[in-house]
Structure formats: structure tokens, C-alpha cells
């Protein structure tokens, strides 16, 4: 994860991005690049704009200025439904499942834009192999799942789009540590088997830096630090500010 222009082969490059909710500006000249196949973590305190950055990349929010270049083509202003078709999936904060639909229906909705039925079926098998706990509850309404199962279902739905970039917003929020471990293990497996690029936003900094290879810190809408995950983990300032050590 580097600044603008770091590496020609960047899969995603965000350049001088500004975003606002009405008159309240949230992001100020944010630069960020992701290399294909890497896992990067976006850290920072509450209200720093992490979720806003993910929402802007996903196309839910139109930037007020700046560029988002994806695989060599501009992405900004495309709208969320077209952004997914380009290969970017967001697992939103709070899971946002279709509560009245079953687990299978939710997961299948993730493949809404895909027309190859055989491929979708294959992926469905892969997903349920990845999450045996979810497979056991296929016919349960998503709203009746436990928090951990809901998170698994949300990730499964995101993966069904067969994204090249999977963005995960606060996946550990409200989950038991054992459940978080299980989900992280399964994300590692996805990364190993599919080589999916991931951008994770996390409060659980320890977990994020163990999973990611690089990290960036966002404070009050600006990127203030970019480094290797290991380096951030050993940094005394990061330790006191985010790890509570």
C-alpha cells in the first residue's frame, strides 16, 4: 500500500480523493494504492473516514474531487452496481444482510450479475465448504443468525461476486474472539486459493496487522502514515494509540 504513483502495476490507485456528506468534508486528498494480490489494512480512530473511503471506492458515495483508478480505468462516479461488475466487492459495516431472505438466498444474491450458472454453482459449493457452519444453516433466515454467522454470510455474499478486490469493513465488530479467529483463518484460505486482493478496515488492530502485509493510518480524513504491517506493529506510537499496550 503506497502513495500515488507507487508502482505502475497498481491494481487500485486512489489519487487526491476528497469526499463529503453534504457540507461536512470527511476525506482530504487521500492517496492510496493497492498491488494485485496484497492484503492491506486501513487503521485509525473512530470517525477518521475509513468507512467513507471504502464507501467511496465502492461507488456508494461520489467523491467531490480526486480520482480512483482501477485496473487502468477511472472508477469514480460509476455508481455502486457498476463498480461490482468491475470486480470490487464491499462487505459493509454491520453486515447489511437481506434479513428476510435465507442464507442461501443471500449468498446467491452476491452472484446477481453473473450469468454462468455452472460457475455460480461451483462457487456456492466452494463457499459452503469454506463455511461449514453456514452450510448447516442454509435455510435459516439471515436475520435469525448469530453475529458471527451473519458476518460469514456477508463475506460469502461478497465473495460470490468473484471480486478481484474484497473490502471488509469492521468484520470483527461485536464478535467473540474465537469467531474472529475462525473468520480470519478462512480469509487466509481465500487469499491462498483465489489470490484475492483485500482491503480491511478494523478496530482490532492486532488482528488486522497479523492478516495484512501493509497498513495505512487515517486520521481526521488524511493518511498520516504508511508502512509494512510488521513495522507498524513494533511502532511504540501505534502501540499506545491503537493496541492499548
Amino acid at each position: 500500500m503506497g502513495g500515488a504513483g507507487a508502482g505502475v502495476s497498481a491494481l487500485l490507485s486512489v489519487e487526491k480523493l476528497n469526499a463529503a456528506y453534504g457540507d461536512a468534508q470527511v476525506l482530504w486528498d487521500v492517496d492510496l494504492t493497492l498491488q494485485a494480490g496484497e492484503i492491506a489494512a486501513l487503521l485509525g480512530p473512530n470517525g477518521a473516514g475509513k468507512t467513507t473511503l471504502l464507501r467511496t471506492i465502492a461507488g456508494l458515495l461520489r467523491p467531490t474531487a480526486g480520482r480512483i483508478v482501477w485496473d487502468g480505468a477511472p472508477l469514480e462516479g460509476l455508481g455502486a452496481h457498476r463498480t461490482v461488475s468491475r470486480g470490487i466487492a464491499l462487505v459493509p459495516e454491520g453486515r447489511r444482510l437481506f434479513a428476510g431472505m435465507t442464507v442461501t438466498e443471500n449468498v446467491r444474491m452476491g452472484a446477481y450479475l453473473r450469468s454462468q450458472r455452472a460457475d455460480v454453482h461451483e462457487d456456492l459449493d466452494w463457499i459452503f465448504d469454506l463455511f461449514p457452519q453456514l452450510a448447516a444453516r442454509r435455510r435459516t433466515q439471515a436475520g435469525a443468525l448469530s453475529g458471527g454467522e451473519q458476518q460469514m454470510c456477508a463475506i460469502a455474499r461478497g465473495l460470490m461476486a468473484r471480486p478481484r478486490l474484497l473490502m471488509l469493513d469492521e468484520l470483527s465488530l461485536g464478535l467473540a474472539p474465537v469467531m474472529v479467529d475462525r473468520i480470519v483463518e478462512m480469509l487466509r484460505r481465500v487469499h491462498r486459493e483465489r489470490g484475492t486482493t483485500m482491503l480491511i478496515v478494523e478496530q482490532d488492530v492486532q488482528m488486522a496487522l497479523e492478516l495484512a502485509s501493509r497498513g495505512a493510518i487515517l486520521e481526521v480524513g488524511r493518511i498520516v502514515r504508511r508502512a509494512e504491517a510488521r513495522e507498524l506493529m513494533d511502532d511504540p506510537r501505534v502501540k499506545t494509540a491503537y493496541l492499548g499496550l
Binding site: 461507488g59 459493509p92 428476510g100 431472505m101
Partner: protein, 289 residues
């Protein structure tokens, strides 16, 4: 003649349900109280009348025509007008849909004036007699078509890709966009379907009720009451609501007299709003349709 009243209630309940389903669907998917619903039912009735007069087209055969016509009308109204104000306050959408309602009423006044009109196919008065009960053939036909449309609507929402996208957009708009649903297009399709259902009802109702340019308000009232009885946005509920309203009306007319028909419907509407604002049929998750 309580048996006669119960039969009438069931037969009319079918069409009340299909009026309510369209209205409820639009509310469930985009939180829109669609004040145009009654006017579409009315206008479809006039179109049916015009085709009956001009070409002798049977009102039941005109259903596919009015449905196609009003699907296109609804799709365009949502795409070009309502989609623009969805993000604004509820008041704006009420003003807009009331405005469209006024336009349609004035189209009717311009084209058909204020004469009382009726669609009268040869079989209009035909009936079977079972014991002491008279079974109107037209009403049986109306019930069957309404039931068929309701079943098709269920299957469409449950089994098709577009139907699932409509459900997803109703449950969580942003999450639907995140899986690739073009919600603005889905809203237009939803409004189109709702209008098509209203049009089918309008074509059929023209065979049993006289057409007047003020009947839009009465039909809108029915749609509203049925949808509230079933729980706004709940399609299964709308079926229950349709039957509940027609039973209440029929029994009310039987025990109290015909002048109480509307009073009874709206009294129940108020009672439900006070005691069971989520409708007679409960839902587990919000916006489940």
C-alpha cells in the same frame, strides 16, 4: 341471506387483494405512498370502456392490453419523475403523486366528460343459481383472474432474478446496490408492475361498477385500507387485508345497511392503525415482502 353475503365477500375480496398488493409492493420497496394507484385503476377502466365501445373488445380480453399499457406508463413515471424525488421528504412524494393523480383525473374529464359509463358485455347479468344463492358469472371470473395474478406475482418475486432483486432492494437498498442491483431500474419495474396490477383490476371493475371521474379516490381508499390491514409493504398481508375488508363491508351492509359500506371500511382502518399498526399479519423482519 348470509350465505349470499359471504360468497359476495369472497369474490370481491380477491380483487381487493390484488388492488392492495400493487399498492403495498410500491410502499414495501421504495417507501412510497403512491396516490396515483386509484387513478390508474380508474383510467384503465375508461380505456377498457373505449376499446369495448370502439372494437367490441371483451373487458377480460382487454386485460393484457391495459396491463402492458400501464406497465409502460408506470415504468416511465417512476424512471422520469418519482426516482428524482425519492431522496427528498415524504411530503414531496405525496405532492408529486397527488399531482400525477390530478393530471390523470383531468385526462378522464377531458376525454370522457362526467357521464356515467358502464362496460356491459352480453354476459354481464348472467349467473348460476345454487340453492338460494345467486352466483354472478362476471364476479367469479374477476375472482379467478385476481387469484391468478396474485399467484403469478408471488412466483415472480420468489423465483425470478428480477423478483429477487426487487425483494433485495426492499430489504436493504444499499446492500442491493453492493451486489450489483441497479435500484433505480428495479424501482421503475416495481412501479410498472404495481400499475399493471392496478390496470388489470380497473379493467375488471369496470364491468361491475359504473365509471365516474371521481372513482379514483374510492379505489385509492380501498388500496390504502387493504394495505394497512395487511401491514404496509407486506404482500401476503395484502391478501388477508383484501378478504378482511370485503368481509367487513359485506357483513356491515347486511346488518347495518348499504349506506354504511365506506364507514365500516375506514373504521376498521382506524382501529387497525391504533391497535395493530403493523397490520393483522405480523412480520419477523422489517420490509419483508
Amino acid at each position: 341471506m348470509i350465505a349470499q353475503e359471504i360468497l359476495n365477500a369472497i369474490l370481491i375480496g380477491g380483487i381487493y387483494a390484488s388492488i392492495g398488493i400493487g399498492f403495498s409492493l410500491v410502499y414495501g420497496v421504495m417507501n412510497l405512498l403512491n396516490l396515483v394507484h386509484g387513478a390508474v385503476i380508474m383510467l384503465a377502466g375508461y380505456v377498457t370502456y373505449a376499446m369495448f365501445r370502439a372494437w367490441g373488445l371483451d373487458p377480460f380480453l382487454s386485460i393484457p392490453v391495459t396491463m402492458a399499457l400501464f406497465f409502460a406508463f408506470g415504468y416511465l413515471v417512476q424512471r422520469l419523475l418519482i426516482n428524482r424525488i425519492l431522496a427528498a421528504s415524504v411530503l414531496m412524494s405525496l405532492i408529486l403523486t397527488y399531482g400525477i393523480d390530478l393530471v390523470l383525473v383531468n385526462v378522464v374529464l377531458l376525454v370522457w366528460k362526467t357521464d356515467l359509463l358502464a362496460v356491459t358485455p352480453a354476459y354481464a347479468g348472467a349467473s348460476w343459481t345454487v340453492g338460494s344463492v345467486v352466483v354472478s358469472k362476471v364476479r367469479v371470473g374477476i375472482f379467478l383472474v385476481s387469484a391468478l395474478l396474485t399467484v403469478l406475482m408471488y412466483l415472480f418475486l420468489d423465483r425470478t432474478r428480477t423478483g429477487n432483486a426487487i425483494k433485495a432492494a426492499a430489504l436493504d437498498r444499499e446492500a442491493a446496490q453492493l451486489v450489483g442491483v441497479d435500484t433505480m431500474k428495479i424501482y421503475a419495474i416495481t412501479y410498472g408492475i404495481s400499475s399493471a396490477l392496478a390496470a388489470a383490476s380497473g379493467s375488471m371493475l369496470a364491468t361491475i361498477y359504473t365509471l365516474t371521474p371521481t372513482i379514483d379516490g374510492i379505489y385509492l381508499g380501498k388500496a390504502f385500507v387493504v394495505a394497512i390491514l395487511g401491514g404496509l409493504g407486506n404482500i401476503t398481508g395484502a391478501v388477508v387485508g383484501g378478504l378482511a375488508l370485503s368481509f367487513a363491508e359485506s357483513l356491515g351492509v347486511f346488518f347495518l345497511g348499504p349506506s354504511y359500506q365506506e364507514v365500516i371500511g375506514f373504521s376498521i382502518f382506524l382501529l387497525v392503525l391504533i391497535f395493530r399498526p403493523y397490520g393483522l399479519v405480523g412480520r419477523r423482519f422489517y420490509a419483508e415482502i
